[in-house]
Subunit: 746 residues, 2 copies
């Protein structure tokens, strides 16, 4: 598209927007009507919208019937000012994005330019928030799943009055130490709920946020006091739609009937490689109907402002299903020569095109300028937000008076304070306690914690009976029983992880856990990494943690997984050896609310070992037995998880032969790293070079612990299908191997 | 369900099968008609099938209209024997599965018992194969995506006469060293096409197999000789359907119009956690229609044999779309007390229930017995397969005569022989060659290789213009241009990886490559691991490999990724530093057809360094410069990729100060590990403990290379959003840091 006149081009864009996606002649009349600009007005609920189409499709044919808006509730904060101010305000967003990307010479102007109208309507008319307290509990949540378009969100936060995004922050877009990084980061920018950029994650986070709201509302709301009551809005792009994670999460959202989840699909038909026609021709609306969503199509997302408003209203009226509002927009709207092309997706427009866009949209202002009338228009959100929060605080005071117990529980979820003495609930074990798989011991911990932690909830990716994750005192979180705490994720590991991130970031006191086989962390690794980055203290309960699972074979046997997570920043990789260590791992996991934990747990039975302890686990590595003196053992045997038993057995043998042997449990490398040098020296004295490690996984990284004179026993190839004992023997993960290695070096 | 009479139960199961999924009263009449057992007969194409329903759905309501079968082509090998022999043969499959799982006391009997009819029809009536040559090029491909049900496939391979699965192999199911591991493994069992178990992978592999067929057919078929012509069949379960990867791959299959891909969805309504109602209530058929598939529903997959046959016929008649045949079955069909429950999914039935099932299905035989008439019935597949292959060989001989050039090319794809001197096509560089990003140098290599490697094809997950992966001499592989070689995967990394596994395993000479940002290997890690395990030599072109990508920030900056792949078995992690090393990385990647390679490539420009070479890369680690003598440098500086330049700069400075400094490029740890001890000693002499490594990633694992006296410079936290140079400086990835570290130890 290379029209010489910018006016002609703008019209062409509008026409394209209306027709690009629909070759069905029956809709053309409706679509073309959207070329005339609607007036900027309050929503009239009785007027049918011209280009708003609810999907009632057949498999191959769309029935784009008009239908009246059914809801009677008004969109919250309708604005009665004139269209020109609205458009000026929308253009302010566009130019803040253009100017910031231009100054950084880096970023994605296309999405903010195309999504400015829907973003504006959300933040200015629809959403409930207090810019002076971004963490106000009952705020509506907004997620920009297409995170590369973050300048949209920064511009909106700026206009709405958030202190996190001042003018100088916009000017430092994508610069070292700024509050406006290249993708939205909740840990950098108050007002940003989650961390997005990797596509599809944000949509799944939004499902988690909406789940949390539905759960808490069901648990705490009373007929006379709906103390939990907010919506979750999310903007997703074509890229998010293509990612499998979004299908997983949206299938669950439909299953759970998350009626207060409203997703805007920025249908701009452009992705990095060009027109989505080259790789993305599925019928997204039909797919979402299959997933159990309500689907609405706003055909002109560029200027069909009332259609966007009507769609939101309709979405809110549908209470038993999440809604997808497909909003057809023009990427880079307003840029005469780059709109509707991939060139506007991920690069600065360039000085010449910025000028042309200024002319085209009639924008006479300096870069980063917010016109006074626009500023004034937005300034009401400060007092309004304060009032909303005050009103809610009053409501909470009422609630607290009447429902003391519930209020205390809800408060602890809101502020994240763990109940005093909660850790006393953790089970402890003696060497006489029966041998058991750590996955079973994990279930004992989970069930003990469920009694004392009001925010603990979670589940498994269709392996509850293998991962042992059911909370026996609760039922299933389902569409009609959302107050329950066992979440059934189905075989959707990736969606599960990202949903748990959303739950964790909804409220500091929510402690989500999720489970699958350890090897299938591969399916959800991108979500786990986001947990670590965005400081979401999700607990990953990962069972079947080695060749010890036996017959299922190499597709199911983790090898490199422990190493791969030890290398990941801000995550705790814990591999407990028995009951006390499993309890210790849970203590660590619950305490670390800003650092996710992965618990690698055995399928097979393990003995309760003498010397293990919760306190030991908290130090990451510690001595469980030692017959040496003066911190000078002949050899140090180091094990983790199911192999600690083997180390202990080998030590027994070696001691019989007169050796001074120390056995160290190395349950978490990260925690050990954080100990004092003196403590580390007390466990692994520098002078003792005779060290043997044993772990049924990759030896990669173990040189750091055993040193170049030591020996690392492990597995550096794929596993095998056979009974576990046989594999251990064939792979040399045995006490005999430890003894032989020890003797070779001491 | 706990009926006391097994007859009653069988009937109950039939009734359930017919009605379980459909509460629409309009279909009940049709459904109930399926309770009467159809006769076992050849397919009569004129008779409408009673319980076969093509989906013509509205969004919320199924219109289960009868409709006549439209195809006229006959299913290939219709069997005209009687129903009782067919059922006996089907029951043979069931009991081979039951008996093998029972003997192993481990495995999944439920799927084979439920899917035996469709499996039987496929292997006995429909599929084209030669059991004595499992690698015959033009065979139909079969994938059991629900890999846990592998006893179905083993039983079928056994009956069909494959040498890989003899009776003794069935008796060694899931035992050490057997050909019948716990999930299907192509590298263990000829006749198994791909490695499945991790759910959804197989379906995506099947998309890759079907893509390969469509591509090769378009390239090589002639109007008078369709030398490439086979179908790809896949059985998927509920679990596969829930995984996001399957939606990604199936969206592409629909987009590409892979008409010869036929997927059977074993709709048994049971997953490990129980009824799929608890987490999976989406309308799968509607979703697949949205994805552009043809959808058929066989309501009685237990005994509706003719309906299965008709569905296959209909699927074959639809040539422009892949087909999903939803086959409603009863998991564990025939087990009086465990059918239709999760207890039959993943455990042996137990002696008592095995007896009850024998009684219920009228099976008087010893374990593992194949009745003589069943044996005889299947025995024709030996001669038939041989005839099929001979016929094709004759056809190929004709083809070769007439189309010599094409035949030679196709032959090289079939046998995997690389053309002589292919590696001469790789570009080489001198220090005077212009500085460039390794992603651009990678594109030069890919385009050079495309000219000489007939099997090279691939693309990017919507980042072709960032990953620099377009082959300029070719167009896009699309529905109507399948002969082209640029594959547009969309933003679907996971599906992309698994599709490439399918392509690689289709023919030894196909060399698929695929690309995204290195950090997004997290999205596709499960597929990459399968590449490594199943020996698929996929080339992973992973650009933007460090903080060097700059402003996109920590969500996009890999940190732990190099370490995480170095820890993975059977994979080559390569991080080239410049043009020669990029060419070397490609040489290694192309040569290693049974080991996938990951190339980590820079976004930013890098100089062409003196001393780098293709030969050096082949050794994994090698000296690029050295001013020491006698293999006794004062210090060894070790770098990879973009940091090799920094190491070289630091060396220059240190040498100015009189130090004897060796610089080592450590481009692939795996390849270095495979060198002789003498070579290793020549690069990293044991006596030289002063070693400094520098790499813009996790230091995890580097102790192995630098030793406990050395220093590893790297990044053990998440990245940041800022211009790349700034981040390098702030994170201390600088020549100054290397110099300081070197001075501190030498």
């Amino acid at each position: 598209m290379a029209a010489s006149s910018s006016l002609t081009l703008s019209q062409a864009i509008l026409a394209r927007t209306a027709t690009h996606h629909d070759s069905d002649p029956t809709t053309d009349r409706l679509s073309l009507s959207t070329v005339s600009l609607p007036t900027f007005s309050g929503l009239k609920s009785s007027s049918p919208s011209s280009s708003l189409t609810s999907r009632r499709t057949t498999s191959r044919r769309r029935l784009n019937s008009r239908h009246p808006v059914r809801a009677s509730a008004a969109v919250e904060t309708l604005d009665k000012t004139d269209t020109s101010l609205f458009e000026k305000s929308v253009n302010t967003i566009r130019f803040l994005a253009i100017d910031a990307v231009e100054k950084a010479n880096s970023g994605h102007p296309g999405l903010p330019m195309g999504c400015a109208p829907m973003g504006h309507i959300l933040y200015d008319e629809v959403m409930k928030y207090n810019p002076k307290n971004p963490y106000w509990f009952n705020r509506d949540r907004f997620v920009l799943s297409a995170g590369h378009g973050c300048m949209l969100q920064y511009a909106l936060l700026h206009l709405a009055g958030y202190d996190s995004v001042k003018e100088e922050d916009l000017k430092c877009f994508r610069q070292w130490g700024s509050k406006t990084p290249g993708h939205p980061e909740n840990f950098e920018t108050p007002g940003v709920e989650v961390t997005t950029g990797p596509l599809g994650q944000g949509l799944a986070n939004a499902v988690g946020l909406a789940l949390a709201e539905k759960h808490l509302a069901a648990r705490f709301n009373k007929p006379d006091n709906e103390i939990v009551d907010h919506y979750t809005y999310v903007i997703v792009g074509d890229g998010c739609q293509m990612e499998g994670i979004s299908n997983e999460a949206c299938s669950l959202a439909g299953h759970w009937g998350l009626g207060k989840l409203i997703a805007f699909y920025d249908d701009n038909h452009i992705s990095i490689d060009g027109d989505t026609e080259i790789s993305f021709t599925e019928d997204v609306g039909t797919r979402f109907e299959g997933l159990g969503w309500h689907v609405i199509w706003v055909k002109n997302g560029n200027t069909g402002y009332d259609d966007i408003r009507s769609a939101i209203k309709e979405a809110k009226a549908v209470k038993d299903k999440p809604t997808l509002i497909k909003v057809t927009t023009t990427i880079g709207f307003g840029s005469p020569n780059k709109a509707n092309s991939y060139s506007v997706h991920g690069s600065a427009l360039g000085a010449k095109e910025v000028d042309a866009t200024r002319k085209n949209l009639g924008w006479p202002y300096e870069p980063f300028h917010v016109p006074e009338d626009v500023k004034k228009h937005w300034s009401r959100h400060g007092p309004k937000g304060a009032a909303l929060e005050a009103e809610w605080n009053a409501k909470f005071a009422e609630y607290e008076k009447k429902y003391q117990e519930e209020a205390a529980e809800l408060k602890s979820i809101i502020n994240g304070e763990l109940p005093a003495g909660w850790d006393k609930a953790l089970p402890t074990y003696t060497p006489e306690s029966p041998a058991d798989a750590t996955r079973n011991l994990s279930q004992q911990c989970l069930n003990a914690l469920a009694k004392v932690l009001p925010g603990l909830l979670g589940g498994s990716a269709d392996l509850a009976s293998s991962n042992m994750t059911l909370l026996k005192m609760f039922g299933d979180f389902q569409k009609n029983t959302p107050e329950e705490r066992n979440v059934r994720f189905g075989v959707r590991e990736h969606g599960m992880g990202a949903i748990c991130n959303g739950i964790a970031l909804h409220s500091p006191g929510l402690i989500p856990y999720c489970a699958t086989f350890f090897v299938f962390t591969d399916y959800m690794r991108a979500a786990i990494r986001i947990s670590a980055l965005c400081e979401a203290g999700v607990i990953y309960v990962m069972t079947h943690d080695s060749i010890g699972l036996g017959e299922d074979g190499p597709t199911h046997q983790p090898i490199e997984h422990l190493a791969s997570f030890r290398a990941m920043p801000n995550i705790l990789m814990l591999r407990p050896a028995d009951g006390n260590e499993t309890a210790g791992a849970y203590k660590v996991a619950v305490v670390n609310r800003k650092r996710p934990s992965i618990l690698a747990l055995s399928r097979q039975k393990l003995p309760q070992l003498p010397g293990t302890s919760i306190e030991g686990v908290e130090k990451g590595g510690y001595i469980i037995s030692d017959n040496s003196s003066g911190n000078k053992p002949d050899v140090i045997l180091i094990g983790t998880g199911s192999e600690l038993e083997i180390a202990a057995k080998a030590a027994d043998e070696l001691r019989k032969e007169g050796k001074a042997v120390r056995v160290v449990s190395f349950v978490s490398w990260e925690l050990f790293d954080e100990q004092s040098d003196a403590y580390k020296e007390s466990v692994l004295p520098a002078a003792v070079l005779a060290r043997v490690s044993i772990e049924a996984g990759s030896t990669f990284g173990w040189e750091k612990i055993v040193g170049s004179k030591g020996k690392a026993i492990g597995i550096d190839k794929f596993g095998a299908s056979a009974p576990a004992g046989k594999i251990y023997k064939e792979f040399g993960i045995t006490a005999e191997a430890v003894i032989a290695a020890a003797k070779s070096i001491c």
